[in-house]
């Protein structure tokens, strides 16, 4: 086996150093009745070339964005990824390192993550960001648990406009705790209906997503006003960080925590993971934050350097009193996203976001012209809901045969939106693709 370097002679020599006559004798401390005597039922080992063939075969069954025109977003977005992102994160010094416990030989990871924290904080308009969480959904769950720790209240209000799968993860995290989630409904224009909020004095947090699951840009000013002068934290979630290239940031509107999915920034969709849980908050809540943090300091010669810091919040020191149990995070994805953010740049990100907006507005306009109802009249970014009316299923399947995925059917997530589809357009979609969709839907 090419990954196992020992020769037979070396094994013998090492065993004799130990006074053992076989490899099995190394396991003498395992009681006889605990030993597995059989052979694991795993296929015969494949050569490198057989493995390639097998995996090529599996991958070939997938309808991916490289092969078709996929008008589907819903928390996983097809964006162009500059080749240098893949190239740089493939460098083994980044890819094969562990968590940077030894800062003197981990300055590459540490400076890169410090830069990531800085750019995420700037993107979201907040003071501090952590070194990443698992994904957007767990980031939201952690944000809500954090608000409960800070306020010592046990209820949170969560908008129905937040990604339904994120809300499912929140429910999973909350189930064993006894904390309560109150759902905020959406209005006919697709925004969170804040008039239904229970008394703020009961609430640890009010959470909305913007742009929300329907692509609708929420009235964040309204959320701020509805949560003002109270302890209640304003949590702003997102699935599409590119939106903040064009729109005002959550921090601008006074959000206390912004959290969500960073996959759009240089990370392949990869069937839903690995993604990137982005998480930022106001400085006063820094010590309540979950996850790892990189901070700046100096070495014994006074030179600038970076270390993991504020680890007294973390599980290996605080054990059961830790702010979270997270240990491994999504480090290399955070590195990919900081490379992406610095490649696209400040002027580029705004232009790219504007292009995404204009392209999705183009398709929206064409669909309207064609007589389809755009379900929500609020402004949207990248995504919007269109009513193809019930009975569109057959047409949807027929389009699939032609390599077009005409959005995400919403009936399974929102029964009241049966016949409605969530469509997504990014910079990867050409005008001709959209014109073709319009022709094909008939």
């Amino acid at each position: 086996m090419r990954y196992l370097p020992h020769t037979e002679d070396e094994v013998k020599e090492m065993l004799s150093t130990l006074g053992k006559d076989s490899l099995d004798a190394l396991f003498s401390m395992v009681p006889e009745n605990s030993r597995f005597k059989g052979e694991l039922q795993i296929p015969q080992p494949l050569t490198e070339w057989e493995l390639n063939r097998h995996m090529d075969g599996l991958a070939a069954t997938m309808d991916s964005a490289d092969r078709g025109r996929i008008f589907m977003g819903a928390g996983s977005y097809h964006h162009f990824i500059p080749e240098i992102v893949r190239y740089l994160i493939s460098r083994s010094e980044f890819a094969t390192a562990y968590t940077p416990y030894q800062p003197e030989i981990s300055q590459g990871t540490l400076q890169g993550i410090f830069e990531y924290q800085t750019l995420v904080a700037r993107l979201l308009g907040l003071d501090v960001a952590n070194a990443s969480l698992y994904d957007g959904a767990t980031a939201l769950a952690e944000a809500l648990l954090m608000s409960i720790r800070i306020t010592k209240r046990t209820k949170v209000a969560v908008s129905r406009g937040i990604h339904p799968l994120y809300r499912q993860v929140v429910a999973t995290y909350f189930k064993p705790t006894g904390y309560e989630v109150i759902e905020i409904p959406c209005t006919a224009s697709g925004r969170s209906d804040l008039s239904t909020l229970p008394p703020l004095s009961e609430l640890a947090a009010v959470a909305v997503q913007s742009p929300n699951f329907f692509g609708v840009i929420e009235d964040l000013q309204g959320v701020r006003e509805a949560t003002k002068d109270e302890k209640t934290l304003f949590v702003c979630c997102f699935t599409e960080p590119l939106a903040y290239g064009l729109l005002k940031s959550p921090g601008h509107y006074g959000a206390d925590i912004a959290c969500g999915e960073g996959q759009s920034f240089g990370i392949p969709q990869s069937f839903g993971g690995p993604g990137l849980g982005m998480f930022a908050c106001r400085e006063k809540y820094m010590r309540n934050m979950p996850g790892r943090l990189v901070g700046q300091t100096v070495d014994v010669e006074g030179k600038r350097g970076f270390v993991l810091t504020l680890s007294t919040r973390e599980q290996h020191i605080r054990r059961e009193k830790a702010t979270s149990n997270i240990c491994s995070n999504q480090g290399l994805c955070a590195m990919a996203s900081v490379i992406y953010m610095s490649t696209v740049g400040g002027s580029g990100i705004r232009e790219l976001a504007r292009l995404n907006y204009d392209k999705s507005e183009y398709l929206k306009g064409r669909l309207r012209q064609k007589g389809y109802r755009i379900v929500f009249d609020s402004p949207t970014f990248n995504e919007f809901v269109v009513d193809f009316t019930t009975g569109f299923d057959d047409r949807y399947q027929a389009l699939m045969e032609k390599g077009i995925m005409a959005g995400l059917p919403l009936a399974g997530y929102y029964p009241e939106l049966a016949g409605c589809y969530l469509l997504c357009v990014t910079e990867t979609m050409e005008k001709a693709d959209m014109d073709n969709l319009i022709r094909e839907i008939g």
């Binding site: 694991l40 080992p45 562990y98 924290q117 990604h163 149990n325 740049g345 204009d358």
Partner: protein
Amino acid sequence: MTEKLTARGIVQEEPLLWEKSKPGKTGFSMPRRDVDACALDEALQGEGPDFPNLSEVEVIRHFTRLSQWNFGLDTGMYPLGSCTMKYNPKINDRQAGLSGFASAHPLAPQHVSQGALRLLVELEQFLCEITGMHAASLQPAAGAHGELAGMMIFNAFHQSKGVQRTKILIPDTAHGTNPASAALCGFKSIPVRSGEDGILTPELVAELMDEDTAGIMITNPNTLGLYEENLKEIADIIHGKGGLVYADGANMNAIMGVVRPGQIGVDVMHLNLHKTFSTPHGGGGPGAGPVLVREHLARFLPTPRPEKQGDHYVLSDACPDSIGRMHAFYGNFGILVRAYSYILSMGSEGLKNASRYAVLNANYIKEKLKDTYFLPYDKPCMHECVFSDQLQKESHATTLDIAKRLIDYGFHPPTIYFPLIVSGAIMIEPTETESKEDIDRFILAMQTIAAEIQADPDRLHEAPQFTKVRRLDEVRAARNPCLTGC
């Protein structure tokens, strides 16, 4: 200015991204605009985030230079205890990067996602076969996430019996994340002392276990690198009081093909695919921490569950007792692809040999160094061995000094000051992919350092000497936190 001009060999100085930024530069090939601009309410628009502006070549140089300040597994031996830093096969990165996988949408209809679903189903089967467990979920994104899923399953199991148990037993030789994971599910940790020989005694477990205790979280082999010889008996005690046994499988690399936890009384466990199954750790992640259960707990596993139905692979939500969804989609799929590829490359004998050689290498290091460094538990170890700085203390050299000096000799230091029950612990896990030559060089470096401590301990306080930065002021970083640049 002079500082900016210095470089030690090819280790170059490099400013922060925004210190290099200049308006007008770009590193991005802007996609063509083929539609007209549309109106958008001005009140919604911001100025755009203050990202740096750099050309492509500047971004490449920046991150290439940063990477050169890092020590990776491909740089050299990385004997970080309990982290299983084994070689990450490059061919598995190719598989995860195949466009059919990398560009796949998680919510695409299942009939156009068959390859990915089949991979999930088969990987679950392989992991069950290796561990002797009955069913698995691949959703947890890291080991601690798997632990959390496991504790939620404990909670759901006891709830289904109509009781809310409030405590959980956690030995002093367990991993550090265990108490935090249990706390998230409302369990109060009850510490269990390991015996004089470093393993748990059934007597103490029997004394602490009661009907208000949900069960026990055991790391086996434990963080001293020792096999928990009484695990079966302990499991009987726990089960006798209606509790469950959780095994932290972070150390599974010691026992593949030798012990199947599912057959010795373990009810729930997790695996770290970024340890035992060779996926790269990425400087902190992403990893994957599948959770596995015995048959009577399968109904509690996270949803959706990938299944084979006839000739087709589907995602099933038909599990009313499930703890629910742990991840927005199906976990860190790209990591799962790599672990699946690793198992297919190794086969049954290859996996067993990996564990045998991992144990051989650890015992060899233990034997060769036990006259040089204090060995608190002098007995055969599994995949890692734990020394301490007790013999070096009188020369005023500590574990930290030894670790930093190893850097000067070209090795990544072992895990230090963990487990907590050994004062000044030095926890060494070589893994099976280190050659005998490299292991012998590591042993020589450790012996040389011990000799240096005798001769000139002050020299060690100066280590490391040849790195990008020297020892860093961690107290200052924590006292006046600077987490973002300006």
